[in-house]
Amino acid sequence: MNSSAYAAFCSLRDPVSAMQILYKDGYQYRSIVATVTEQDRVAVKDKLPFTIHQSEVNKHTLYVLYKDRKAAGFLQARSEWAKWGLVEIAWAINLDRSLKGFYFQRCRSPECNDSVVQDINKQLHNKNFAQLKSLLTLDGEALSEVGKNTFSTYPTLALLVLRSALKTLAITDISWAKYITKIESDN
């Protein structure tokens, strides 16, 4: 996003804390750097009523987590704009592209504390793209009735997290398609 898209590469850090918390011990990770193109950005719009920001048309990393030399899942960090600044969320994704969970790599609001993360994670765990989409209104700008009932305590933060989750799942399938196909066939 804006502040990080042109940051020097020495500031790039692997989301190690997120991997340790979301995947625990015994996992190895492999980076796959892919270019997210303008066409990919348009393709996200076909799947969702919103898409990624233009400044995200750039190189990004998808981490593949391995256990006992077998692929066990993915992890991708994404930035979202909030009214208090950039929020960076690391998403753990199961091999079937349902959500395993998330970790705030950066969220400068005191609301983003461990108990909130735990609550939202509980609701998102193992949900797939269609199930997540149903938690938003058709235009994707608000929580649906189901979404409001699910996230009655932190609706604003939940909306931000949900939109991030959907964009992450969509862009993962689009920009890393050829790598994911190979990983699935190797497993």
């Binding site: 980076s31 750097v33 233009q54 391995y66 704009w81 009214k83 600044g85 705030f104 400068r108």
Partner: protein, 342 residues
């Protein structure tokens, strides 16, 4: 009669004319490096003006930033970062000692290291090469190539050549380094060396604290200077605000020293505009062998940085004295920098 142009005009014009070449070089280099690589060209020009004497010093920088992750079939092996930069000085009154004079041009390595990460899920890595000395607040943030600096000036060394052990554990981060003490250049001077480290809480949280130390003989303009230092640093993030402080005590060439630093920064929600102000305090014994008499200096800094969506970065900073020592004047310096990364 031959017309002469200011150096910055010549440099900027050359950079603009070379733009297609840079784009081509950028793409070609990324192709050459293969999968999992990133390449960026980094250009900047800076003017620093002494408002008392009206002296204007220029620094023009052109560099390549390379990032490549080496992987096996089931895991990353390590990350290579190479940042060679050509630095051209113009009319600089007190250049860093690696430059021959205030109009020198030199190839420097900002960062150049390989971090071996295959051992234990990022918990225990081995870094070899040229990297930032793990000490204080500066370690958490990337301030390379920016006007915005933290406490490096107090130590006289920002990066160094050597070896480090580093990693991120579930509740803390660490880096411990054994380096040459020579700073920007690989030194043949066997007298210099540096042992440094920082252990801190996770930098992903909104409250981050760390303990740092360094001990060794650091290469300076007139030979090596013995330094020992310990520091505590604290960062607190609250919505668009960032508060940071660092306090250190130690010895420099046998004289007791104490340093303090505090910064407040505010950013717009999109983080493309930031403003900050800093306070710096330094106390040092004048000559420990003669008496325990000490002198202190302090100054404040205010800065602003704007980043565009397209890689441009414009920043300005002003530094002014609060208190200066007899033999150490603090000049009012206004700096402006234009930077572009592609």
């Amino acid at each position: 009669m031959k017309k002469s142009y200011p150096t910055w005009t010549v440099f900027s014009t050359r950079c603009l004319l070379s733009f297609p070449l840079f784009v081509f070089a950028n793409t070609a280099l990324a192709e050459f490096l293969g999968e999992n690589s990133r390449v960026s060209i980094d250009i900047s020009s800076r003017v620093s003006s002494n408002l008392d004497t009206q002296d204007h010093a220029f620094m023009h920088v052109l560099g390549i930033d390379i990032h490549k992750v080496f992987s096996s079939e089931t895991g990353d092996i390590g990350t290579l970062i190479l940042q060679p930069y050509i630095v051209k000085l113009n009319n600089v009154k007190k250049p860093h000692f690696i430059f021959d004079d205030g109009n020198d041009t030199k190839l420097t390595w900002r960062i150049a290291n390989f971090n071996y990460t295959a051992l234990n899920q990022g918990k225990f890595n081995i870094r070899l090469g040229h990297f930032e000395v793990p000490f204080g607040l500066e370690y958490q943030l990337d301030t390379n190539g920016t006007l915005h600096q933290l406490t490096t000036e107090q130590r006289g060394i920002k990066t160094d050549w050597g070896l480090s052990l580093n990693g991120i554990m579930p509740s803390f981060e660490y880096e411990v380094a054994l380096t040459q003490g020579s700073g920007a250049e690989i030194s043949n001077n066997s007298d210099s060396h540096l042992f440094s480290g920082r252990i801190g809480t996770l930098s992903t949280k909104n409250i981050v604290t760390g303990f740092s130390w360094l001990s060794g003989d650091i290469l300076a303009a007139n030979g090596v200077i013995e330094q020992k230092k310990v520091a505590l640093d604290l960062s607190y993030y609250y919505y668009q605000w960032r508060f940071m402080a660092e306090s250190s005590i130690g010895k420099r060439a046998g004289n007791n020293t104490a340093n303090g630093f505090a910064e407040v920064m505010w950013r717009t929600p999109k983080e493309n505009l930031s403003v900050y102000t800093q306070l710096r305090y330094q106390r040092a014994e004048i000559d420990h062998n003669v008496s325990s008499e000490s002198s202190s200096t302090s100054n404040w800094v205010a800065g602003v940085q704007w980043m565009s969506d397209h890689g441009f970065d414009v920043s300005a900073q002003y530094k002014h004295k609060l208190k200066e020592a007899k033999n150490q004047s603090i000049e009012p310096i206004l700096s402006v920098q234009l930077r572009y990364r592609m």
